[in-house]
Symmetry: C2
Subunit: 161 residues, 2 copies
Amino acid sequence: MTENTQRRGRQLPTTEQLRIWRDFIETAEVLKAEISTRLQSETSLSPGDYVVLLALTEAEGGRMRSSELAAVIGWERSRLSHHLGRMERRALISRQECVSDNRGAEIVLAPAGAEAFQGATVPHLRAIREIFVDALTPDQLTAAGELAASLRAHLGSSRPR
Amino acid sequence: MTENTQRRGRQLPTTEQLRIWRDFIETAEVLKAEISTRLQSETSLSPGDYVVLLALTEAEGGRMRSSELAAVIGWERSRLSHHLGRMERRALISRQECVSDNRGAEIVLAPAGAEAFQGATVPHLRAIREIFVDALTPDQLTAAGELAASLRAHLGSSRPR
DNA sequence: GCCGACTGATTGACGTGTCAATCATGCCCA
DNA sequence: TGGGCATGATTGACACGTCAATCAGTCGGC
């Protein structure tokens, strides 16, 4: 265990590194769950709903092609399709046929969706501040951003998409 | 909660803080998904399976009361129950009635489960090193641990369990 | 014009997670 | 001692995610 030098294929994580990994990933999960619970109870929107509604709100005319929406928010198309199905049932959005391409669907922000989004944005931002921003010093916040960037960069380089 | 906190509490996060939050939480999700995919493809175990099998492996006699198992790994009981149902179908574990308390169930590590766990531990650790430890400098790794601790502490104080 | 490949989007099957309800057993005490 | 509450565990309903299959419409080349 003390032979910490790099040998051929390199070594497995130490106990301490493993502990940090677990703390890190579990904390992120807890945060996500907490945001999700708060959002849900205060506004009846899930984080997924929020992301979709945000993109639609910022889109020209409150409407967007399904595949474009998927690209903007970085979701797989089938995931989006399932989610839109659930949102459509709740009348948050509606689907319309696309004139320029009969295969395509246009996703339209519905009145109920616009209203729910309006009501959700302040609670959402407040929750982020309370459970994330307020918990960290400015230095830690910066470090968090750099951490995320490093992890993404490394992931991208080792597993090219 | 001090009065100072309460006053500052009226402010919403800045754009930059929001960006960091999103980067942070999305990166954690991507990492989790990546670990999950690798583990699944190399060993046919999910992270959840791994956690359960780890706890059972370390338990006296490879068996544990269901509620104790839930406490050890920090899961809700219903979540565990659902998961054990799926694992039992795959013969990774089995359930036995508990002699000392007829309400209780004892979860027993099955041979297939022990074997799968053995085969999974090195790939699992390697994946953690590759996508997490190797991506960060020693300082960043330390910072990650402190970040997680701060976030947990803050969450615990504002939302006491 | 027509076939075959490509593309946009949906679907079904299934694993995973939460919440609330249920069920049986254990335990306390009036 | 028996009624009632606490406890251990499971279940059902539903939201969310991934993967593979499907389906319909577009487009290029012959």
